[in-house]
Every structure is written in structure tokens, then in C-alpha cells.
């Protein structure tokens, strides 16, 4: 209810949220309504500019693949990676920050010092190393055995194909994006834990876990949600960065970052290959930002 009023006061945020909804629906059901598959090549129609006549509304790439179909498929991958990695990083960040803030004292000092230090590491380099070296069958087969998957089942096949790189992206990006959230949550918990209602809960016999999960975290949900929304574009950006360098998903799977790179290579002869992927990606990033900032302002102004 309050959320709705918040967005009604800010038309820009409403437009941004609407656009994100539109993009999500488009990438989910859009590919079904298209005449072309994202991997389908047509060498005679290579590099054809956007046209209504031949049905390639956004043109084709050098192999004659339909750009719109690739954009929608790429959006699926970009959003999927961004959302899953954000979910992982939010989980880590909330648990880490809550523990640090709640336990306090020495432990808090050390835990926050670690966060300070991690902030300044070249962790994107480590993610790149991980992506470059570990997307190999030698890694996949033991995992398939470990999870007791059927070796010829669909899941195992998926892991051997595009799955391994997706899973690596989830884990790697999720593991490096939780720092800011941990700081925020810690600050919130630190402020909340001296409130009378926490003491009341403790007096009533509630354990640490109950106090954290039932009393403290729900009261910190505003900032947690806001920063989670702000994490999505930053993870998306990192995934695009990795794919742009050619270390992300492999063709014909291509996220928006990889499409931008293909566009860069062809931009002097086929500018549409750069303009559309870059445009949709930047717009999506901006919209996530606007929505996230709106949520953040809303809780910061609350008395």
C-alpha cells in the first residue's frame, strides 16, 4: 500500500518500474511470438539492416541471425544471472551483516575490517580467472557424480553445455557482490538491537535466532530491499563486463554484454548491431537504478 503511494508520487520511478516489467515479460514470452529462433542462421540475409519487409525488425548479424530474437534470449540470460547472483549475494550479505551487528564488539570489528579489505581487492580479476579456467569437463563430471545426477539426464546434459558457465557466473558474482549490503545490514542491526522491543523479546525468552529473524531483520527490510534492487544492475554490469571480454557464456548463447561486443566489432558496417543491444542494456540498468534509488530515499527519509 505504502509502496504504491511512493511510486505514484514519483512518475519517473513508475515509468522505470513499468519498463522493467515490460522487459521481463518480453524476454519471457517474446521468443515464442517470433518467426526466428535465436540460433537460426541465414547466410544470404547476413547483416541486413532493420526492416519490416523481411521480418527482421532489428536487422540481422553477420551470420544472418535475427537480432531481436538474440536480444530477447540474451535478456533472459542477463536477467537470470543478475537475479540469481543477487539472491545469493543478498543471502550472504544479510547473514554476515546481521551476525556482525548483533554479536558486536571484537567480532564486529574484525568482520567489518574484512569487508573494508575485500572492497579494495581486484575481485573481478579473480572472477575472470575462475571463468577462464574452470568451465571444463574435468570440473563438471565430478559435480554431476557428487549431486547424483543421471549421467545421461537432462540436468547433466545442461551442465555439460551452457549450464556450467551459468552456474559459475551465479556463484562467482554472488560471492563478490554482498559487501555493501553487509555494511548496511550491520548498521541497521546495530541501531535496532538497543530498542526496547528487542529487550522485551529477550525477556520473554526468545533466543538469538528468533530475535534476529523475527524481530530485527523484518525491521530492517526497507534498506535490505532497496539495496537488493540496487545490487541487480551492478551484478548485471559485471556479467556484461565478463561476457564482453569473451569469458562469459559461449556462442550461440549470448548475453547482452556479448551482443554489445559483437556490435562493437561490426559497428562501422552495421551500427544497429551495437545500438540496439547497448541501448536496451543501458535503459534496463538505468531503470533498476531509478527504482532502487527511489526505494532507498523512501526509507532514508522515514523518521
Amino acid at each position: 500500500m505504502r509502496m504504491w503511494e511512493l511510486f505514484r508520487e514519483r512518475p519517473l520511478a513508475l515509468v522505470a518500474a513499468g519498463f522493467l516489467g515490460f522487459v521481463s515479460i518480453a524476454v519471457l514470452i517474446g521468443p515464442m511470438g517470433l518467426a526466428y529462433d535465436y540460433a537460426q542462421t541465414d547466410l544470404e540475409l547476413g547483416l541486413s539492416p532493420p526492416s519490416w519487409a523481411n521480418g527482421h525488425y532489428l536487422g540481422t548479424d553477420i551470420l544472418g541471425r535475427d537480432l531481436l530474437a538474440r536480444l530477447l534470449q540474451g535478456g533472459r540470460l542477463s536477467l537470470l544471472v543478475a537475479l540469481v547472483a543477487t539472491a545469493i549475494s543478498t543471502t550472504i550479505g544479510v547473514i554476515y551483516g546481521a551476525l556482525s551487528g548483533y554479536v558486536g564488539g571484537r567480532v564486529d570489528d574484525v568482520m567489518m575490517r574484512i569487508v573494508d579489505v575485500l572492497f579494495s581487492l581486484p575481485y573481478l580479476f579473480l572472477v575472470l580467472v575462475l571463468m577462464a579456467l574452470f568451465a571444463e569437463p574435468e570440473v563438471v563430471e565430478p559435480v554431476i557424480r557428487l549431486l547424483r545426477l543421471r549421467p545421461d539426464g537432462a540436468m547433466a546434459e545442461w551442465l555439460r553445455g551452457p549450464g556450467v558457465r551459468l552456474v559459475l557466473l551465479f556463484i562467482a558474482l554472488g560471492a563478490v557482490s554482498w559487501l555493501t549490503l553487509a555494511r548496511i545490514v550491520r548498521g541497521q542491526i546495530l541501531a535496532l538491537k538497543t530498542e526496547p522491543f528487542v529487550e522485551a523479546a529477550r525477556a520473554a525468552g526468545a533466543g538469538t535466532w528468533t530475535i534476529l529473524v523475527r524481530h530485527l531483520l523484518p525491521n530492517a527490510s526497507g534498506p535490505i530491499i532497496a539495496y537488493t534492487v540496487l545490487t541487480v544492475p551492478s551484478v548485471m554490469l559485471q556479467e556484461a563486463f565478463i561476457s564482453f571480454l569473451g569469458l562469459g557464456l559461449q556462442a550461440p548463447q549470448a548475453s547482452w554484454g556479448a551482443l554489445v561486443y559483437e556490435g562493437v566489432q561490426a559497428m562501422s558496417i552495421a551500427p544497429w548491431l551495437l545500438v540496439f543491444p547497448a541501448g536496451i542494456m543501458v535503459l534496463t540498468l538505468v531503470c533498476f537504478h531509478v527504482v532502487g534509488e527511489t526505494l532507498r530515499e523512501a526509507y532514508e527519509r522515514r523518521p
Binding site: 575490517r113 573494508d116 579489505v117 572492497f119 579494495s120 581487492l121 581486484p122 575481485y123 573481478l124 580479476f125 579473480l126 575472470l128 580467472v129 575462475l130 571463468m131 577462464a132 579456467l133 574452470f134 571444463e136 569437463p137 574435468e138 570440473v139 544492475p233 554490469l237 556484461a240 563486463f241 564482453f244 571480454l245 569473451g246 569469458l247 554484454g257 554489445v260 561486443y261 556490435g263 562493437v264 559497428m267 562501422s268 551500427p271 551495437l274 547497448a278 542494456m281 543501458v282 540498468l285 538505468v286 537504478h289
Partner: protein, 310 residues
């Protein structure tokens, strides 16, 4: 102050060890072998190569060798570029990457700070508001999108600058602008909000009431606390800057450290990967240490453990 610096140093050393060890094992545990390619090489030759590079030794010997080499700044031979050591490649890449990074950093501070100050002092001016609006865009537009569009416009349409390459002054402009754009925007916004907060403080009102000139108030009293968030951002921004050069060098075909790193990752050139990551980690940790000391000099509360880090 001395105690504070000592404590930071004590923290930096185990951190350095941690990151170097982590990288070593990450690369060592990676599946596949350095000399494995599409065409198989005879087992005897592979064994010979392994022996030559010390890969037949147990892991702790390799680890000790690696650490001993690092201490002497010797990163060993490259597995893919014959006749060149990793140290030479790193040095070669640095000669290209460091000027770009420094120029971008200088540009970011040189434009971002004045813009932020202006925005805080004249919040109603149309020009300033237009610039700050642009800054929002600058923060979210990835450099690998900005770079190609600059090329499309300034190189392929106006023919002002070359689209790629390295060696002359003209090659310098577009990469540096691309790399610094986000930082200009970010620093301007940090300065603006910091200065606005500082100008609203009571001691500024006192200074005004005392009859100090506006310039003195701004430079002597308001700017110092306003710059703390900017300095705190400087540390993490270095790490992002390093990541940024990787992309910039790819877009503009510049033979810098980032270029070699991506090539090494794609080629599975283990010693080169290890060398570049180790070197970057060392450089970042040292620079961050210096940055922390600078912040503590500006804000003595931090060294006393009372300052709230922004």
C-alpha cells in the same frame, strides 16, 4: 598516528599473503594442463616440459618457489610467449597501462571536484543541473558502451581521433575519456553531497558571522570534511579502475597489462595469469595503504578509532 600506520601495515601483510596464496591455488587447481592443446604432444616431451618448468614437483615445492620468486619480483617464464619472462610482459604492459590510468584519475579529479563544488554552491543554475543530470547517466553507463559510441561519433563520423591503436598522443584521448567518465560523474556527486552537508554545519555559520570571506570559508573550513567521502571512494575506485583498463584496452586495441591478462586467461597461460593477478593485488594493497594513511592525516578521528568511516 604512528601506531595507526603500524596497525594498517600489520593488516596488509596477511592480506597480501592470503590473496597470493588464493590465486596460486586457484590457478593450480584449474583443470587441464599448461601444455595441453588441440594437438597432443608426445608424453616424453610433456614430461620434459613439466620437468623444465618444475611442474613435476609436489605442490608445496612449487608454492615455495613461487613465493620465493615473488619476493625477488621474478614471476618466472611465460608458458605461451617464448623467450619472454612474465616480469618483462608485466613491465611492458605497465608502461602502457599506468599512463592511461593516471591520466584518467587526474581527469576524474580535475573535472569531478570543481563540478561538484560548483553544484553545491550554485544548485539552481541550469548549467549545473544539466551537468549533474548528465552525471547520473555517466554513473550507470558502462565504459564498454560509452567507448564504442565515442568511437562511432568522434572517429568514424567526425574523424577527429583514431578509433584504435597506440603510440601517438592522439591515441590517448578517447581511452582516457572513456575510462574517466564514470569517475568524473561519481566524484562530482560525492563532492556535491559532502560539501552541501558541510556547508549546513553550525561552524560554517559561525565563520560567516565572524565575517570571513566566502573563499576562506570554502577552502579552509568546508572543503576539508567534504573531501572525506571522495577520499574513501578513492581506494575502491582503484580496483575498479584496474578492471576498467581491461575493457578499455580491448576496445581500443591497446597493448597494456589488461590486454595481456585477457589473452593469458583465454590461452590458459598459467604463470602469466598468476603474475598479473599477483602484481595487481600487490599494487592495489600498497596504494590502498597509502590512501588510508592520507585519509587518517585529513581526519585525525580515524587514527584514534573514533571516526565513522563514510
Amino acid at each position: 598516528m604512528g601506531g595507526y600506520i603500524f596497525k594498517r601495515l600489520l593488516l596488509a601483510i596477511p592480506l597480501l599473503w592470503l590473496i597470493l596464496t588464493l590465486t596460486f591455488f586457484l590457478v593450480r587447481w584449474a583443470p587441464g594442463k599448461p601444455f595441453l592443446r588441440e594437438r597432443a604432444i608426445p608424453a616424453e616431451i610433456e614430461a620434459h616440459l613439466d620437468r623444465h618448468y618444475g611442474l613435476d614437483k609436489p605442490w608445496y615445492v612449487q608454492y615455495a618457489n613461487y613465493m620465493r620468486g615473488l619476493a625477488r619480483f621474478d614471476f618466472g617464464p611465460s608458458y605461451r610467449y617464448p623467450d619472454v619472462t612474465v616480469g618483462e610482459i608485466v613491465r611492458h604492459g605497465l608502461r602502457v597501462s599506468v599512463p592511461i590510468g593516471f591520466a584518467a584519475y587526474a581527469l576524474a579529479l580535475g573535472l569531478g571536484l570543481p563540478l561538484g563544488v560548483l553544484a553545491a554552491l550554485r544548485p539552481r543554475s541550469v548549467v549545473v543541473r544539466a551537468m549533474m543530470g548528465l552525471a547520473v547517466f555517466g554513473v550507470v553507463t558502462p565504459n564498454f558502451v560509452l567507448g564504442p559510441f565515442l568511437v562511432l561519433f568522434f572517429s568514424l563520423t567526425l574523424y577527429w581521433f583514431p578509433p584504435a591503436g597506440w603510440g601517438e598522443g592522439r591515441h590517448f584521448v578517447l581511452p582516457v575519456v572513456t575510462l574517466s567518465a564514470a569517475y568524473i560523474a561519481y566524484i562530482a556527486r560525492l563532492t556535491q553531497s559532502g560539501l552541501q552537508r558541510a556547508l549546513a554545519q553550525d561552524y560554517i555559520r559561525t565563520a560567516r558571522a565572524k565575517g570571513l570571506r566566502p573563499r576562506t570559508i570554502l577552502l579552509r573550513h568546508a572543503l576539508r570534511p567534504a573531501l572525506l567521502p571522495v577520499l574513501s571512494f578513492a581506494g575502491p575506485s582503484l580496483a575498479f579502475l584496474v578492471a576498467g583498463t581491461v575493457v578499455i584496452e580491448k576496445i581500443f586495441a591497446i597493448p597494456g597489462l589488461g590486454h595481456f591478462f585477457v589473452q593469458a586467461a583465454l590461452n590458459r597461460d598459467y604463470t602469466l595469469i598468476l603474475g598479473i593477478v599477483s602484481f595487481t593485488a600487490i599494487a592495489l594493497i600498497v596504494l590502498n595503504l597509502l590512501m588510508d594513511i592520507a585519509i587518517a592525516l585529513l581526519d585525525p578521528r580515524i587514527a584514534l578509532g573514533k571516526g565513522e568511516r563514510v
